[in-house]
């Protein structure tokens, strides 16, 4: 297969490229890129795609999603999440180990890999648990799991609570250069809480979770990273206080990185008004000041990565009293347009924004993805940067529809997604 993408605005954060031109794909890889790739210059046997001046960038690498397969296929399957991700411009997904059974064993990693080969849309990776059963006690077989393909280790929605276990995990993982990913929330301070602590929680009569739940655990972990020299990544950081800890760690030269997700820069805790369970996430949506701090941390590089934090739930998990509802929102289909809000508001240059969803997560996880380099896999997203439209979660591709974004006006829409040279999504003609 030889295919050329012409008349594109080429965007490659890894090399800083932002130029009009084309990109040539041979087989599964990028063969050439640059302004010289034009329709008139192509050999007649090359199929070409006219990009009409839209942006052609590396496909997005989403480092935090929940697959629900195996175990909760009524909420999402590898097939449905793959199609949803493809429509969102994502070409590589990493799933948390909180499937049923959990991923703490080579067999489950291999099961997911086999299913991914069958579905064969976007690239599918998984994390292993830090501990057996994700219960925070005994370390998993990190070496064996890594060999089987687990990219890094995390207990998913649970923080590693025991400081000694965390110390040993960070320390032992060094033997394999493995990354430990933490859900940074002190389980005791967060215990029983359902939303951000503050005025609205008080008015609604809902138990609050203070931002200190985040900063206390991050601060502990910062010291454990200093003690062990391990590699640590804080997932979905949500608060100014938490970000201050990451900033300090980076200034110290510690190997501590962080991501956040669109809910934490696109929404604040007022979204919970009226007991909207779609706005229940973990960590909870924070105050407007915290939201602004997340934007600032994206600007100054304290936050390295934007991930979708995709957490599909069925109606039975959400159409119930707020305290009983499961936390989480779907996000793979809305990741790019919500992230582009930061660009359209002038808060982040386009290449910096794309870096956090492409080469930055890929490098963190040791994947040779997220760039338009010659010889690299032809994983691409073509998007119209300016097209205004309204988000339609209910009409989405994924199996679950739990996100409070319906009707939100956004700018920027995916037109085509390519994985290993195969077109896996194309915007419906309208």
């Amino acid at each position: 297969m030889r295919r050329a993408f012409v008349n594109a605005r080429l965007l490659d954060p890894a090399s800083g490229l932002d130029q009009k031109g084309g990109l040539l794909v041979l087989g599964e890889s990028i063969a050439d890129i640059g302004p010289h790739i034009r329709p008139g210059q192509l050999a007649p046997d090359i199929e070409w795609v006219d990009c009409h001046g839209h942006c052609l960038a590396p496909g997005l690498v989403d480092m935090r999603t929940q697959f629900r397969e195996p175990g909760e296929e009524h909420k999402e399957t590898l097939d449905s999440i793959s199609r949803a991700a493809a429509s969102g411009g994502i070409t590589a997904l990493v799933g948390l180990p909180n499937t049923r059974p959990v991923i703490d064993d080579v067999a489950v990693v291999e099961f997911v890999a086999r299913r991914a080969r069958e579905v064969k849309l976007v690239k599918i990776f998984v994390y292993g648990g830090v501990t057996k059963g994700l219960d925070g006690k005994q370390l998993v077989e990190m070496g064996l799991l890594r060999e089987a393909g687990a990219l890094a280790f995390t207990d998913g929605l649970h923080a590693v609570r025991n400081a000694q276990v965390m110390r040993n995990a960070l320390s032992y993982a060094k033997a394999f250069g493995a990354l430990i990913i933490q859900h940074p929330e002190d389980p005791d301070l967060a215990d029983g809480g359902h939303m951000n602590e503050g005025e609205l929680a008080t008015r609604l009569g809902l138990a609050g979770i203070p931002t200190a739940a985040e900063s206390v655990l991050l601060e502990r972990d910062r010291r454990l990273v200093a003690l062990t020299g391990g590699r640590y990544h804080a997932a979905h950081v949500s608060s100014a206080e938490g970000l201050a800890v990451i900033r300090r760690a980076k200034a110290q030269g510690l190997r501590m990185t962080a991501d956040t997700a669109p809910p934490y820069f696109a929404l604040n805790d007022l979204e919970v008004q009226g007991y909207r369970t779609f706005a229940k996430v973990s960590p909870p949506l924070r105050s407007e000041d915290d939201r602004l701090a997340v934007v600032e941390a994206l600007q100054d590089g304290t936050i390295d990565v934007i991930a979708s934090d995709h957490a599909p739930h069925d109606q039975e998990s959400k159409r119930i009293p707020f305290a009983q509802a499961e936390p989480g929102m779907v996000g793979v289909e809305t990741l790019l347009p919500l992230a582009l809000e930061l660009y359209h508001k002038g808060q982040l240059p386009l290449l910096d924004l794309l870096r956090k969803m492409t080469v930055a997560p890929a490098q963190l996880l040791g994947l040779p993805l997220g760039t338009l380099g010659i010889g690299k896999p032809a994983d691409l997203v073509l998007f119209d940067l300016d097209r205004p439209w309204r988000l339609d979660v209910k009409g989405g591709v994924g199996k679950s529809k739990n996100a409070p974004y319906d009707g939100r006006p956004v700018q920027g829409q995916v037109r085509m997604t390519v994985v290993d040279g195969r077109i896996v999504y194309q915007v419906p003609e309208n």
Binding site: E199, E316, P321
Partner: protein
């Protein structure tokens, strides 16, 4: 009474209720206080109407109060107690709501251990819904009966200083009372150990005190809250003994309040923990039994007003009798 305007389909909370609506309920309640003191207490205003009390959390006094209120107005009243264990799967909540709705009740009176659950039910049914307490959120009829009690004793609500003392953090009674008292022009303070004050309490417009002598200084009304026994096991306060010593109401601490200050408690009381028997039983100061009495009258008024609206909606007022 045909000209009474009550612009609410449900009573889910004091939030969103204006001073006119509150006054309408209180004024109508007054007439039912008189009725309830007569020998023949039975009316037929709600004859043919069905009231279902659905309690997902155990309650004796509130349920009985609603039951009496409905029966005295002539309605058919049914009580349903739903075991807490049966609702751990939330789907059952909306299923329960839809099942009840299919039986065409006119009013559902709902108590639920989770904040917001009563609102959720109200979105699923066609009849009027009264919140009989949801989690830590609201308990509007308690605030209304407290207001009626005060208004009858003092003659007004505006300008009064009210101290709400105790476990404000976990209290739906406190939330509804703060909202109602502010709406009616009273000033509210809360007096509690810092662990029992909700986050950002000052943003509710109350003054916060951690010392009873200071907090009760010059107040017209002392409202005590019940300490939930399950909270005593946590780390919110060390012991009942210490709680009573610093935050329990006794004659000594009461001296800081105005000499004629009223003592209130939503019940049931923990004597010797949040309130001393001497003050609880002080017939000159304590209005605790009167609160219970006002409760029935207020709930009659609520049932009356909400079913009138239903009648108005169906444009069928053939059975409507004057209430006063």
């Amino acid at each position: 009474m045909a000209d009474i305007i009550f612009p609410h389909q449900h009573i889910l909370g004091i939030e969103g209720m204006g001073p006119d609506a509150i006054s309408t309920i209180l004024d109508l309640s007054e007439s039912y206080v008189d009725l309830n003191r007569q020998r023949d207490k039975k009316r037929s205003d709600l004859r043919g109407r069905t009231v279902i009390n659905v309690f997902f959390e155990s309650s004796t006094r509130t349920r009985t109060s609603f039951e009496l209120a409905g029966k005295r107005l002539g309605a058919d009243v049914i009580n349903i107690a739903v075991e807490a264990s049966a609702i751990n799967k939330g789907e059952t909540l909306l299923d329960t709501a839809m099942t009840l709705n299919a039986m065409h009740p006119d009013v559902l009176v709902v108590r639920h251990p989770y904040s917001g659950a009563v609102q959720l039910i109200s979105e699923k049914v066609e009849c009027a819904v009264i919140n009989a307490g949801d989690g830590w959120h609201e308990h509007p009829t308690q605030a209304l009966l407290d207001a009626l009690t005060i208004r009858r004793r003092v003659g007004k609500l505006a300008g009064l200083n009210v101290a709400i003392c105790g476990d404000v953090a976990h209290s739906r009674v406190a939330r509804s009372n703060i909202l109602l008292l502010h709406t009616m022009g009273a000033f509210v303070r809360i007096v509690a150990p810092p662990t029992l004050v909700p986050a950002d309490a000052a943003k509710l417009g109350v003054d916060v005190y951690h010392d009873m002598a200071e907090g009760l200084k010059g107040v017209d009304i002392v409202m005590m809250l019940r300490i939930q026994t399950e909270r005593m096991r946590g780390s919110l306060f060390p012991s009942q003994r210490e709680y009573f010593r610093y935050f329990g109401l006794d004659a000594e601490k009461l001296k800081a309040a105005k000499p004629d200050a009223l003592i209130m408690h939503p019940g049931p009381m923990n004597r010797g923990i949040e309130i001393d028997s001497d003050v609880a039983d002080d017939i000159n100061r304590s209005v605790i039994p009167e609160q219970v009495e006002m409760g029935v009258a207020v709930r009659m008024a609520c049932l009356d007003l909400l079913t009138r609206n239903v009648i108005a909606n169906f444009d069928d007022d053939s059975s409507k009798g004057g209430a006063a």
